[in-house]
């Protein structure tokens, strides 16, 4: 290609023909009005590809930073390659290795902190700051979402079970339990017509029970145990924390992976269905549940038996979303419940009321 040696001075767009003289420490570049000295140690490739001719060089010294030397003939190229040892030294030519390291470290540490805190720390701070009224609205939305999710899975609308007698029985049951706790939450229990042994707590005191839990339960005491357990979650604000956590995580990931504002709330309901609380959270809720049951003079035996049975069934059906899979070592919990058994108890519901509750979905 071009055999001439040319020079752009970084100040005008004019092209200068120049001659090069190699002395002890650098290249003397001279032309019509050009008189520059480039120390060997400061010369770098400006070409993208060292095999790509003609070669372009630049110089680190700040006065000639924008200038470019263009070399077309082989002999000159070879001379420059021999004399200039650091032609390819990208990092040194940045002259900012330290700044780079510092920023890199700060960036990675801060990213780590953001991710860590949005999982472990922020939800616990944020959840108590949210007014109960918002939580209730959020909870209603989440219950709707859950109904929607299962509706989509089953390709059929999920009904809320509202048979009058059953509703009355449920209210009696919930009433007994609620009287035992001091909490700003108003509990609202919804039974969904879903064939699954599961129950979950949404923000704002909203509790969802799936139909099969009622039909599989052997007594009203068992249902009372499950309800008390979910109330324990609500009182400890676990559902609100979970929603805050999943929103936070999806936010962080949206930003990290590029792209912002793609439906953060959609994930919230799903997270409540699928994600497990920590074992500590489960234990806290169990303890609260036992308190509630003993206050209501309901035997915790039903609570224990329910977990015994689900423990036996563990690994059988409905693994993916079952009560068991998000509520590990049931046996351990069941024994804790049995230990708390008290003598002075009565059945949670009368036989007739229990029958009505079982039939709440018609």
């Amino acid at each position: 290609m071009n055999q001439r040696t040319e020079y752009f001075d970084g100040q005008t767009a004019a092209r200068y023909s120049v001659g090069l003289r190699f002395d002890a420490v650098g290249i003397q570049i001279s032309g019509d009005t050009i008189d520059q000295f480039w120390p060997y140690a400061d010369v770098r490739y400006a070409s993208e590809d060292p095999d790509d001719l003609p070669l372009i060089f630049r110089c680190l010294a700040s006065e000639t930073n924008a200038a470019r030397l263009i070399v077309g003939d082989q002999a000159t190229m070879d001379t420059i390659r021999i004399r200039c040892a650091d032609l390819e030294d990208r990092v040194r030519c940045d002259l900012q290795r330290r700044r780079y390291t510092v920023w890199g470290t700060v960036g990675i540490v801060s990213l780590g902190l953001i991710v860590w805190s949005s999982i472990h720390f922020l939800p616990r701070i944020v959840a108590p700051l949210i007014p109960i009224a918002w939580e209730e609205e959020l909870g209603d939305g989440v219950v709707d979402d859950i109904a929607g999710i299962f509706g989509a899975i089953m390709k059929d609308e999920v009904k809320r079970c509202e048979a009058a007698d059953g509703r009355l029985a449920l209210d009696i049951l919930v009433g007994q339990l609620v009287n035992q706790v001091k909490t700003p939450y108003r509990f609202e229990v919804t039974v969904l017509n879903v064939d699954m042994v599961n129950a979950l707590a949404a923000p704002g005191g909203r509790i969802v029970i799936f139909k099969k839990l009622l039909t599989e339960a052997k007594s009203a005491d068992e249902v009372a145990g499950v309800l008390a357990h979910e109330m324990g979650h609500v009182i400890s604000r676990h559902p609100t924390e979970a929603v805050a956590r999943s929103l936070g995580i999806s936010l962080v990931f949206n930003i990290l992976l590029g792209g912002l504002g793609s439906g953060a709330t959609g994930a919230a309901g799903e997270a409540l269905v699928s994600s497990a609380y920590s074992r500590d959270a489960e234990r806290d809720s169990d303890l609260i549940a036992l308190d509630i049951l003993s206050g209501a003079q309901i035997s915790p035996k039903g609570f224990a038996e329910f977990f015994d049975r689900t423990a036996k069934e563990e690994g059988s059906t409905l693994r993916a979303m079952s009560f068991i899979s998000s509520h590990p070592p049931s046996a351990e919990r069941a024994s804790a419940a049995r230990d708390a058994s008290a003598a002075n108890v009565h059945p949670a519901l009368s036989k007739a009321a229990w029958k009505a509750l079982k039939a709440i979905c018609g």
Partner: protein
Amino acid sequence: MTGYKNGVNPLAPKATGRPRPMPHTPISAHEAAITYDAKVRRLFGMGLTIAFLSLITLGFYRFWGKTQIRRYLASRISIMGDRFEYTGTGRELFLGFLIALAVLIPLGAASYGIELITAGKSAVTQFMAMGFQYAFILFLIGYATFRARRYRLSRTALRSIRFWQTGSNVGYALRMVGYLALTTATLGIARPVGDIALYRYQMQHTWFGNQKFEFDGRAGPMMGKWILSLALVPFTLGLSLIWYAAFRIRYLQSRTRYQGIGFSLAVTFGNLVRIYSIYALVMTVLFCFFYGAIFAVAMPTIVQDQAVDAQSWIQANAMVLYGVGIGAAFVVFGLIAPIVQLLMLTHRFIRLVTNRLEFIGDVDLLTIIQSAAERPQSGEGLADALDIGGGLEVGI
């Protein structure tokens, strides 16, 4: 890194600059041939490596990868035998990303708050909150677009002279939101008005050295063709929009000037259709093929217990199915799509433009003097975080 201390070139000539002899004086049009000689093979190798590294680093390599590709593409475009040079670094892009993170996290937190507050409120409240959020996001996109353009131009040089951009990011973003509202209000008819205004804003704030680009296009001449192409959309399956796009490119270039130089970019409908249809075809085939292949591999390992009915099987394996879906999306969107886009869209588009672009007129290169204006010190973070464009724009 070529940044001057404090972003000021200490040697930039004063306005009166001493007179210089003229080694090679005015450049005329035919001398100013533009060439592009990127190798598809090299691009493919580069794209594959970068996509793979980005994938295993959860996307963090993308800053360095993008830079590498821009450097290569710029160095393959030359005018009068002089190559463009992209002097940006991955570090600057990463720095910009960190800054954007610092801006976006509080903003994100605010929108998180709005979602919490309005969840479960009346539909009207939710709608208004959503409208506000969208307007704000649009504003951010406008801001980020102009800021990213400023960065890319300031890192692009020809004959040792840099491009750069003046104008205000906020001003551009507000105009963009305003014109978008106008376009929406007129059901799309007024689109050329905003299009021209924004393009003019861009060009009139674009500099090469100490000289500015000019643009004197008007919306009037575009109006008729735009409305016609809009009206024909149902009958042409949208092809009329491509016909308009070709006209738009030709018109915008013909109205752009740099000093004594005018531009002619003879892009035709056929050119664009060929690029877009091949891209769409390759993309579709690859998507189908890879989704099919991944499911074919994954299915036998998923299907174990055939006794259970379909519904409970899906329930039991929901997480596995979900995982396979995510994995497939990762491979297709993370690994394949960027490479196809690079080869089929970016590369071919640059080739088309460089083939068809002609310069009309003369420019005295000695009058073009490096500007001493400040340059942005960090990359296009916000645009990256907002996922704007492939961002491979080079030079003019």
